[in-house]
Amino acid sequence: MEGQGARAKNQGDIRILLPAKNPISNLLKPLEPMKNLALALSLLLSSTLGAQDLTSYIPSDVSFLFTWNADLVGKKVKTRQLMQQESMDLIFQQLVQGLDSIQQEEYRTLMTSPETYGINNNAPMHLAGRWNETGNFYALLMPLTNSSLLETFVARQSVLSDEPIAIEQYGDYSLAKLAGYHLAWNRQVAIVAGGRAAEVYPDFDWESYPYEEEYEYEEEEIVEEEIIEEEAPAEEEEMIEEEMAVEETPDAVAGWIAELLGRSFASSLQSHPDYLKAVAKPADAHLWVDYRQFMTMGQDLSMMGGVPGAAGAMGMAAQLFDDMYKGTFLSMTLNFNKGELEMNSHMLGQGKMIEVMQEAYDTRFNKKMWKYVDSRFLLGYYTLQVDVEKLVEGLKDIIYPAIAEMPMYGESFIRMMDVVGIVVDEDALYDLFKGDLFVAITGIRQAEIPVTSYEYDTDFNPSQVEKVIKKQYPEFLVMTSYGNEENMRKLLRLGESFNAFLNMGEYYQTAGQDESDTYYLAMKDGIMLFTNDGGLIAGRLNAGVEKAARLNKTHRKNLRKNVQAMYWDVQSTWQAIQETGVAESDAEMAEIMQGISDKVVDATFITSRKVKPSIHGKMSLKLKDSESNALEQVVGLLNQLILEAAGLERI
């Protein structure tokens, strides 16, 4: 069947004929300005195997670098098959809209068989970006096997398009300026690049600027003029748009390309010791981020520092982040394994913040907490352990000197903190809260709540009736360690005096109307417990939960070996939702949960206690289908979601 919204098979590929306006076009709207780049990006997925290192073309001061190691992925999955998903065809059609059919066909070939046009689909591809005082630029670097094939492709596009494409020669590389992006290539690499140069502000002397109170305004006579509203002719509007387009900064992008292909930078990533450490263990995908640039993104320090008002405050924050994260890099890897998606992150470098975190993470898990966690219906938990004193003192060492140097704010801030130091006994605070936190959701409970309702007789006369409604609520347990028991009791007595809770002898309790609304607070053996599980506090505070019901070895190891751990048991959560009637009261949430539980077994995230040479975090998503590769499952899920959004079903 052919026509709007119908599908047709053509030359072995699955094609979907779309109406001009369709839901998928809305989904892709944000991509429109970068349509051509997006098309090129799709090439990342279509590569399969190889070993051609292009990082020598990437300067060491890039803000980020995303690498798709097609060679590794190709060993695990058939990426060409992934590219033939129906959703990819939908996306492709959106991207090539407006081109004639021959061009569309050539772009399709470029996407599905990039080797046809000389692109090496057996080697890693890189997407790099840099934002600094010169501007914001990005570049997609693709390895080439035969640059003349790519030249042929560009020449063909020049013939087929309305406006001929000029190919300029610069030393050993060629450059074609296309609509919205630049394409450049030499014998080894093709680069798709874009970006914008930074706006240039004249130097301004903020210190001697005459502010409002000193400035004498001249009174001007305002003459009211007759306003004639007149519609501008369409031709004029077009002319204005053209002029604006000319004002864009194509030369800056050409300069960025010249820097990359001419390797005219001080050093490449290949000589960056932290980057080399980060890529020592290969992964399917890798993201390298200059953390300082990431944290100060969009904040121009030179423009904002020291200026009164909001811009000044932002400048202060940016300056602080600059001090905290200078020399800090984030390396994230993604591996698609059978039945598991694994993401590792490493914070590395010589940044001050890394030193602070390494000190602050030097802690031990309070094992006494284990006995209070009932794992029989456990849905998930989150734990964090930091040495509060080392963290606060470390941050002070960074923040105080940075703020002291700031004009207008610095001196006042330091004076203020001196006064705070007189009032606050920091040592007492450090001894009060030890810096660990354990939050667990130990099940979903159901409470029966009596309510007064009305029933109507046949004449619609209301009469009061007593009903019982069922209310589901999560059972939670929060624990934290404390040092000075007497000081902690003072805090609790303060809460008691404000009627926040009632003293029940061994524990405190809020005055709830029913069991779903009553919370308990207790202190035991250096642990403060806050929960809505009355049975635990009133009945098992000394003994804890039965040994057989406590956390198993895997979880205990998770807590002992890591300073941060998050665990979500998706299957138990879904089971609890089904058993307690949550699905009936919140069908929408239940539907989402069912979708997740169909695919995912559990999710874990940890930050290792071993903080040297880098702060290591790991996220793992265990999938229900343990035989298929995670990438196939993720792409399959995305395919399904995109087709649903477009109002289509899978064949």
Binding site: T452, T458, F460
Partner: protein
């Protein structure tokens, strides 16, 4: 409904469960009758009790029992002072949080005036535009529903507030001496004896304009 609106919007600050507002009119053939307005917060009683105990919620001041009682007394006094209004009664159940106010009226026009005065008292210093909520002429009883709902930024409410409004109910019950012949609102339910008519709608639907209480009932 008119003076109920501010109460509903205030309630949104306090509640996390559903609630019910009921408007009843018992109309005699001569145009006199009794009106009863009931607010049932029983399903949210745990939250309401907690917020009242704490005194504030999300930075908003929560009235005390005494303040609520004073407000009800003021409403009773305002109604009793209105021309053609008599036998004003109130009911307050602070354990289930059910509140009710009822009065006799000698003709529908006086009921409209009384409702407008009550709305003005409820609005405090804010200017309130008078509306005719009810009409009765030529054996046709009308419930008008022409409030400036466009002034309520429904989509601007939080998801939780919208959820609460969508789960909260507004019920209107009108009873007559003669059997009903016709009614204009197709969502209405008519009693077997044809002397009473009931209409139920989610408050959210009434506020966003997808439902209406408007009805013209002839007998």
């Amino acid at each position: 409904m008119k003076f109920v609106l501010p109460i509903i919007l205030t309630s949104l600050i306090l509640l996390t469960g559903c609630f019910e507002v009921r408007e009843e009119v018992d109309l005699q053939a001569d145009g006199s009758g009794r009106v009863t307005l009931t607010l049932n917060l029983s399903e949210s009683k745990a939250n309401v009790a907690n917020y009242m105990r704490l005194g504030t919620f999300n930075g908003q001041e929560v009235p005390t029992r005494q303040e609520i009682e004073e407000e009800i007394a003021l409403m009773k006094k305002t109604l009793a002072a209105c021309k053609g209004i008599s036998e004003v009664r109130s009911y307050a159940d602070f354990s289930n949080f059910i509140f009710s106010l009822s009065a006799r009226f000698d003709k529908v026009e006086n009921l409209n005036t009384a409702v407008n005065k009550l709305a003005a008292v409820n609005a405090g210093k804010q200017q309130v535009q008078p509306f005719s909520n009810f009409g009765y002429a030529s054996r046709v009883f009308r419930r008008h529903f022409e409030y400036p709902l466009e002034l309520i930024d429904y989509q601007g409410l939080t998801t939780m507030q919208r959820y609460m409004l969508e789960s909260a109910r507004m019920i209107s019950v009108y009873r007559f001496e003669q059997p009903i012949k016709t009614y204009s609102n197709p969502k209405s339910q008519i009693a077997p004896n044809k002397r009473a008519i009931k209409l139920e709608a989610a408050l959210g639907a009434l506020l966003n304009g997808s439902a209406t209480l408007a009805n013209a009932i002839s007998f």
